[in-house]
Amino acid sequence: MKIVVIGDGKVGRAIVEHTCQEGHEVVVIDNKADVIEELVNQYDVMGICGNGASYEIQSNAGVDKADLVVAATSSDETNVLSCMIAKKLGAKSTVARIRSYEYNNQINMMKRDFGITMTINPEKEASLEIMKILNFPEAIRVDTFAKGNVDLVELYIPENSPLIGQSLASIHQKYQVRVLVCAVQRNEEVFIPTGNFTFQAKDKVHITASRSTVKQFLNKLGLIESKIKNVLIIGGGKIAVYLGEQLLKSKYQVKIIEKNYERCVELSQILPNATIIHGDASDQRVLDEEGLTNSDAVVCLTGIDEENIIISMYAYKQNVHKIVTKINKTSLIGLIDSINMVSTIAPKEITASRIVSYIRATNNSRGSNVITLYKLVNNKVEALEFKASEKSKVLNIAFKNLKIKKNILIAGIIREGEVIIPSGDDMIQAGDNVIVVTTNSYLDDLDNIRE
């Protein structure tokens, strides 16, 4: 597939990294020569220096033959213009990053009238992701499949957990709930568990089940935590606005600490029901005065990764139950990973995996389509949801007779709204949504799970 990426910023770079690894033909346009130079040295892509919204530069980049054009410059207007020009030149589909709060309500109109196939708003996506975590405080991370029917939940196994030393089969006998562990992070290692897997202290496990089953499971383990009522947001950027809006809609109490006074005024206009505090959150006194200790959840969204990490560490020390922190530099995630129970959010990675899932879905328009894709544990594991087509070659074969590749796990089947945790006698039927978890990358067809 030929992909043209306009704008080599954080999001652009993440998209280049993922698409390049999957072997697509990638051309990148950016107006800074040194950025392009560095990019070309690092990845096997073609770099073009110039204005991405220029007709000439786009024709040079071969946009007319491109299957996908992604406009991810820092300016929404440039992105829209770039996509319009790309469409005129003959690009098959276009994706624009549009993240201004002001344009949020006219997205559909813009998509329809300007010929943009898909718009993506990393900040809004990130806020949705945070929302999921706040709604499910027991989990480090929550991903949903099948329109929210199935959860993929990351849990931390504390040292006093009753699960330690137990296998999945014994848990099923003891608690009468069927959950499936589909990926385990133990120390630095990531693996997909086999039948003889047992839980160990400090494991981070990803389990799949329907939401009610997961809640039931946690309940029986005594892990249920009280619902979050008030949220302290540190840093009043774009994500904070989207998040604040959703939280207020769901009747949470929201307090936002922001350094810049003008921004504070703006925020209080956009979110009249939130408490806006003007102050420097890297100052411990400010945090204490604003009641960090009494908050149910703290969300760190300042523009500086290091500041977010330090505030999270402080919040952890003050026994805040739920901490979510935004980290842009993926390399820093390792730092905070050592503090268990802290959830990290990387907006650019969320955006990149959205686009990768879109690419895989369009790349394979004949077979069983990828509907959703999540990258877990520092991109080492992928969880994908496929729609099983009628032509698929894996239909109606019981799993015990189906030879499945190593490192691939069928984590769930959704049939007519019902979630099936697969056992040896189950089989995939046409029209099912199938959730596959794998450490092998680049799975784009359900048929490829076969040996």
């Binding site: 690894q21 072997g23 033909e25 990638v26 051309v27 020569a33 070309v40 040295n41 690092q42 990845y43 096997d44 892509v45 073609m46």
Partner: protein
């Protein structure tokens, strides 16, 4: 330093050379040259396969290549290539001395075409073929070939290797995938080579047998210049001379322009300044030579033909000749005085500096560098006259950044320094001034013939083994555009912490 990936690529290189040596072995078998000649190729093939496979057993975990490793890979590869490449010459007994054999094969791979062999007619077919084939291999580059065949690395780009081996200040890709780029380049190279071969072989020239056509085509395509006749192309028909002259010009053009023509982007080709300069320099030099030498030849056609042939041969750094232009030549052991007027010889000497376009198989400074140097000089003068004037240096109507210009200026200084130092060192042998200077320039520019003793009909056998070795290194430095070889000899490169 990622030694694993360096070892891995060198291993692949050795297997590749082994594969390429099969061709001269086939030639040897066709002409039934006897067991000694077969062994001359079979022994290095076995050695190369052995080392190559050994180096490749362990796969590197990290396939990322940084700039320094790219330079080292290029430098070491070319040294290895030459060390193994000279074995057939020694075993076959046709060039028994190691320094001679090393010089000869370096001259081959770097597409120089300077020879230490005094009587080429005595060489066997397989050795002649291997010599000329090395031009063809070295012309486009061995690492480019490897890039075309190795599976693409998942995490990282091999751009640094391409950049270290390819001639020219700015090396870019034609398409976004490195492998596809290398393949396109090689495909264009092969097609042009085949076209030239057909022109020569099917032409009216009786002397151009299939074998002769192959030898001269390989020499032209790589812009090398190893010949199989003591008097180069002097006694071939004008038809063959014209064909070769035109193809020497063609192989001196940036190959990415051929790709642009293939995809129908003619506009961009006409925008290319380097091509215009290249064409202009050839036209001017031919005109000047015609004016200066018309008294020597009988007809205008002959004057023009020799002027054109010599200019295209020297500027593309090939080194074939259609006439003896040097002041004195050693023909059949006898000194022959004559040749072209001094003006013409100096002109030849100057265009030796230029070389052809970046991204071609030619050597030399490259016209795009000359272009930028001249422009930056003009800009500097204008700046002195009117210090507040702001003007930007642009190439192909696009502004060039200061860093590029600076790198080119440094490159030029380094080029001149290496050329001068080598001239000084080789002059210890006691040859005359013009011989030393022209030999050194000819080697660093990968041209081949110089003037006087090393003129088109002469040979480098006048130099001592030590000088030959210095000149060999100079040729590699010139072919790889100085830096890869300098990096190899810098102690900082190998330091553990830097």
């Amino acid at each position: 330093m990622n030694y694993a990936i360096i070892r891995n690529i060198l291993g692949k290189l050795m297997v590749l050379i082994a594969g390429l040596m099969v061709f001269p072995l086939i030639v040897s078998i066709i002409y039934q040259e006897g067991i000694r000649h077969y062994l001359a190729f079979i022994i290095p093939i076995i050695l190369l396969l052995l080392f190559g496979v050994l180096f490749n057993i362990k796969k590197p975990k990290n396939t990322n290549i940084v700039a320094r490793e790219g330079l080292i890979i290029a430098g070491v590869s070319w040294l290895l290539l030459s060390l193994f490449g000279c074995i057939p010459f020694m075993i076959s007994g046709e060039i028994p001395n190691f320094f001679d054999a090393f010089f000869e094969i370096v001259s081959g791979f770097t597409t120089t075409g300077a020879s230490v062999v005094t009587d080429v007619t005595a060489l066997s077919h397989s050795v002649l073929f291997w010599r000329s084939f090395s031009h063809w291999i070295g012309g486009m580059g061995v690492l480019v070939f490897i890039l075309a065949i190795i599976p693409e690395s998942k995490d990282g780009s091999s751009m640094h290797i391409l950049r270290a081996e390819s001639p020219g200040p700015q090396v870019g890709k034609l398409v976004s995938k490195m492998r596809v780029t290398s393949r396109i380049l090689y495909l264009i190279y092969m097609i042009l080579t085949i076209i030239q071969f057909l022109f020569l072989w099917l032409g009216p020239d009786e002397q151009m047998t299939a074998f002769n056509s192959i030898i001269y085509t390989l020499g032209t395509a790589g812009t090398g210049g190893f010949s199989m006749d003591p008097q180069s192309l002097e006694y071939y028909l004008p038809y063959s001379q014209y064909v070769i002259a035109i193809f020497m010009f063609i192989f001196g053009v940036n190959f990415s322009l051929y790709y642009l023509i293939l995809i129908g982007n003619i506009k961009e080709v006409f925008r290319n300044e380097e091509l215009k300069w290249y064409f202009a320099i050839v036209v001017i030099a031919v005109t000047l030579l015609c004016i200066n030498t018309f008294k020597i030849y009988d007809t205008f056609e002959e004057t023009f033909r020799h002027a054109l042939f010599q200019v295209t041969s020297i500027i593309s750094t090939t080194g074939y000749s259609s006439t003896g232009y040097s002041t004195y030549e050693v023909v059949d052991g006898l000194a022959k005085v004559g040749g072209w007027p001094v003006f013409s010889q100096v002109l030849i000497f100057i265009i030796m500096f230029f070389g052809a376009c970046a991204g071609s198989t030619a050597g030399g400074l490259k016209i795009t560098r000359i272009n930028i140097l001249v422009k930056s000089m003009i800009l500097k003068i204008k700046n002195i006259i009117n210090p507040r004037k702001v003007e930007v240096l642009s190439i192909d109507k696009r502004p060039a950044d200061n860093k590029t210009v600076e790198v080119i200026q440094n490159f030029f200084v380094l080029y001149i320094m290496i050329f001068l130092i080598c001239s000084l060192v080789i002059s210890l042998d006691g040859n005359d001034f013009v011989t030393n200077i022209s030999a050194s320039l000819s080697c660093i520019s990968n041209v081949g013939p110089g003037l006087n003793a090393v003129g088109p009909y002469g040979s480098y056998s006048v130099f001592s083994s030590f000088s030959k070795f210095i000149l060999s290194l100079e040729m590699i430095a010139g072919r790889l555009e100085l830096f890869p070889l300098l990096v190899l000899f810098s102690p900082k490169t190998w330091a553990r912490h830097n």
